[in-house]
Amino acid sequence: MAAPTQKHTNPERTLAILGLVVLLLGIWTFWPGQSHVPKLGLDLRGGTQVILTPTANQGGQVVTDDQLKQAVEIIRQRVDGFGVAESEVTTQGSGQNASIIVSIPGVTDSAVLNTLATTAKLDFRPVLIEAVGGVTPTTSPTPSASGTGSSSATPSASASTTITPSASASAGSPSASSNGTAITSALQGTATSASPTASASPSASSSASPRATASTDKNGVTSVDGNPPIQSANNDAALQAAFTSLDCTKPVARKGGLADPTQFLVTCSKDGALKYLLDKAAVRGTEIASASAGLSQSGGGWEVNLTFTSTGAQQFATVTGQLAQNPSPQNQFGIVLDGLVESSPYVSTAILGGSAVITGSFTADEAKALANVLKYGSLPVSLEVSSVEQVSPTLGQDQLDAGLIAGALGLLLVVIYLVIYYRALGLVATASLMVAAAITYFVFVLLSRQLGLALSLAGVAGAIVAIGITADSFVVYFERIRDEIREGRSLRAAGDAGWIRARRTILAADFVSFLAAVVLYFLSVGSVRGFAFTLGLTTVVDVAVAFLFTRPLVSLLMRSAWFTSGSAWTGLSPDRLGVKPALVEVDTHQRHAAAETKES
């Protein structure tokens, strides 16, 4: 009889090794204290997904990776403001094809959309009042004098920064000594020489004392849900009341938004430690020519250098000249990005040269972050909402249920068909499908835990479709075994020879499926990607299960007495396959009789 042409390791060992691997994966998956289910995509758990496309403001320009990174930082800051756990901001592609994908699970509020859709703006605004981030005690009557008294001196001392002329290490150091951050001008000579007297406008605001009457809308104060950015055309009592009652310790107060540069602004610092009442924008962020972080020449640690355009330089000179005359905190200006104060350096002299340096007790990261914020002012990129998808948690749950039911039903139908058609081999196929399902589930949970991969509806669909494709591999193998039996081989030889032939077919066919998955994954966005990932994963699992489970199991079974007995229930009995003497057409009984006669 035909000897098996394949040298294979013994099937028991292969099965044992696979069993061990699956067991270990299972233990890892179900390790206590971790999530035992894959993370669900927004279409299954509800939430908002927004795809933003950055486009260069000037035609023909391409968005650089650096600009993309900055844009992502801005968006991330806004998203974090919603205070939703597991929110994500990711990028896909680069250059012309770059897109920013924002996922906020569980939230389907239309306000979210408005916040994300607005374009970020950077302004320099003189500080009028500064206070600790919490609600200011309204019981204490605040003196009228310009809000200086109302703000506690401590926070500004701890957090303040200085802006100085950038070239002047000497000019910078004295101001830096009064702790905090300072800004100085780049050209020492001019900086010290001219000090224009303060014009009235910025300080004029400080006259009004806060009164307790605050009915926001009537007084022209605009805000979203009473949260920053709170704006008003006038720095009046209503705006100040809003300032008093503002609580920056709540995350919702720090989500930021579009601030009109021509209005007064009440808002929080980015970290919520301080709150501010700010003047109209004195210099727009678009006037920044460049910004960079670097180590101070004089050894004073990290600092941020910035230069202005010629218009910006003039405006900056005017405003610093005015601020330098004022007492603290009104000698500061707020660097406002997206309606929130990023930093509020104080000014000790007018800065005339158009370049300045911000010093303070920065870490390298802080300095770089601030430089990035300043660069954003000159970021020639606008963000366009390309696609929005909001799914309510109820609908998400419905979709998940439908997916699971479809999966169970599909699996059941395939199992029934396989068992009816292939009998015992059908059970082998069923067991193989179960092993494949278990491995796929484990890998999904682990990838979800380790890499944050989320299972979407399309992914679920991919897994269901994969049931059929995986089962197809078994069909190919079983039909091959049957072919070999029809060729007249013994059961065991057929199992071996069939495998050698089926193996190639399975590999070739699965490779094509895998190819489809890879192409889909790399050339698509959104839901298509989730589908492609599942399809690719299940194809690999399919090959692994066919080689390491189905094949050794069939190998073992082929040796068993029951299979060799040729029972109709094995699914491989020669009778059932129709193998019969070719020359005489006889029925089964006659054939058996004939065979017996022959042997006797």
Binding site: E384, V476, V525, G578
Partner: protein, 384 residues
């Protein structure tokens, strides 16, 4: 035993054979008509593209008792002109509009929520900018082209270029038919449909690869003999893998059917339905084309080769030269395709005509017994 297994055996041994390759003109004609209809549909009616491709906004109001008219009035109250309002499933209403800005969309959501009595957060919203839709389309086409090129490269390496071309022809055949059905029926094309179509391509190829693998095996040493032409050997391979093709297709279609039934039954519409529908149509077309299109085309390409022409001539000569095995006259077609198998399904118990695995020589079973009586002996021995 008149069982499926028995039929499978007869197909395998060549006792029962259907002449897929020789009858190719019939299948080409059928496919041609279907393709023509598909193309008429595609260019006449065009595809009903979802908002994901053409840009637009979609609001789905779940669990509402409101009528379509109420929803339309509500959308119009929010300054939407010509909204397309449809009932989806039992209790969901879908409103499609032109592309809206986030602010406009918020206004519509609020209006709908107020008029239809559904909490704002429950209304599912999809906004797609027009340029984004164009980009999605572009990427889908890009993906398709890259995939097709890679497939041809792979199949050329694995089989040979003629088979790769035949597989590609079958693939495009499936693609055009699926797209054509979408155009003719007006089913909406969404990204999920595209996923479905691309998956079909994978599956259609899976089927074709299975058949071609057998064709390759049957024709490995064919030019060294004079017993069967390439087309005959390929046709035998088709018959031998017929049961397998049917089984793989059924098994692949069962989960797809489950998705389709559950998707439509429970959700009414959406990703699941779109995906399953495309898969269902495409898998059917894929199974058909791997049998009726891919192999016949492959045969035609192969029969053009000089060595295959020579083989066909030798086979014809041998048969004409008093081959007593068959009393039948052998037909030889213009391209040199000698079709020795029967018209339509016919059982020939004497195995006097038709190509059997033995006819194509050592390619099938290099080891093991060759003749049926031996088989019987072997089995009888086992039974002792």
């Amino acid at each position: 035993m008149s069982r499926l297994g028995t039929i499978a055996h007869r197909l395998y041994s060549g006792e029962v054979s259907y002449d897929f390759v020789g009858k190719r003109r019939r299948w080409y004609a059928i496919s041609g008509i279907i393709l023509l209809l598909a193309l008429i549909g595609l260019f006449g009616r065009g595809l009903n593209l979802g908002i994901e491709f053409k840009g637009g906004s979609e609001f789905t109001v779940p669990n509402t008792t409101a009528t379509v008219e109420q929803a339309r009035a509500s959308a119009e109250a929010a300054n939407i002109t010509d909204p397309i309002v449809t009932q989806v499933g039992d209790k969901n209403i879908r409103i499609q509009t032109q592309a809206l800005t986030p602010t406009q969309s918020a206004a519509v959501t609020m209006q709908l929520s107020q008029d239809l009595g559904v909490p704002q957060g429950n209304i599912a919203v999809t906004l797609v900018g027009p340029s984004w839709g164009a980009e999605i389309t572009q990427r889908a086409v890009q993906g398709l082209v890259v995939f097709l090129v890679l497939v041809v490269v792979f199949l050329s390496a694995y089989f040979e270029w003629r088979l790769a071309v035949a597989a590609l022809v079958a693939l495009i055949h499936d693609l055009v038919i699926t797209i054509g059905i979408y155009a003719l029926t007006g089913f909406e094309v969404t990204p999920a449909t595209v996923i479905g179509v691309l998956t079909i391509l994978g599956f259609s190829l899976y089927d074709t690869v299975v058949v071609f693998d057998k064709v390759k095996e049957n024709t490995r040493a064919i030019t060294s003999g004079n017993r069967a032409t390439y087309s005959e050997a390929a046709n035998l391979a088709l018959n031998q893998t017929l049961v397998r093709s049917i089984n793989t297709s059924v098994v692949a279609l069962l989960p797809v059917t489950a998705i389709l039934v559950v998707g439509v039954g429970l959700l009414g519409a959406g990703t699941l339905k779109d995906l399953a529908l495309a898969l269902f149509i495409g898998t059917a077309a894929g199974t058909y084309s791997s049998i009726f299109i891919a192999t016949p085309v492959a045969c035609q390409l192969q029969e053009r080769r000089p060595e295959m022409k020579a083989l066909a001539a030798r086979v014809a000569q041998r048969r004409a030269g008093g081959d007593s095995r068959s009393g039948r006259a052998r037909k030889t077609s213009g391209t040199g395709t000698a079709t020795a198998v029967l018209d339509d399904v016919e059982v020939d118990s004497e195995m006097s005509s038709g190509i059997t695995p033995e006819d194509i020589g050592g390619a099938v079973a290099p080891t093991g017994p060759r003749s049926q009586p031996k088989k019987n002996q072997a089995r009888s021995k086992r039974k002792k």
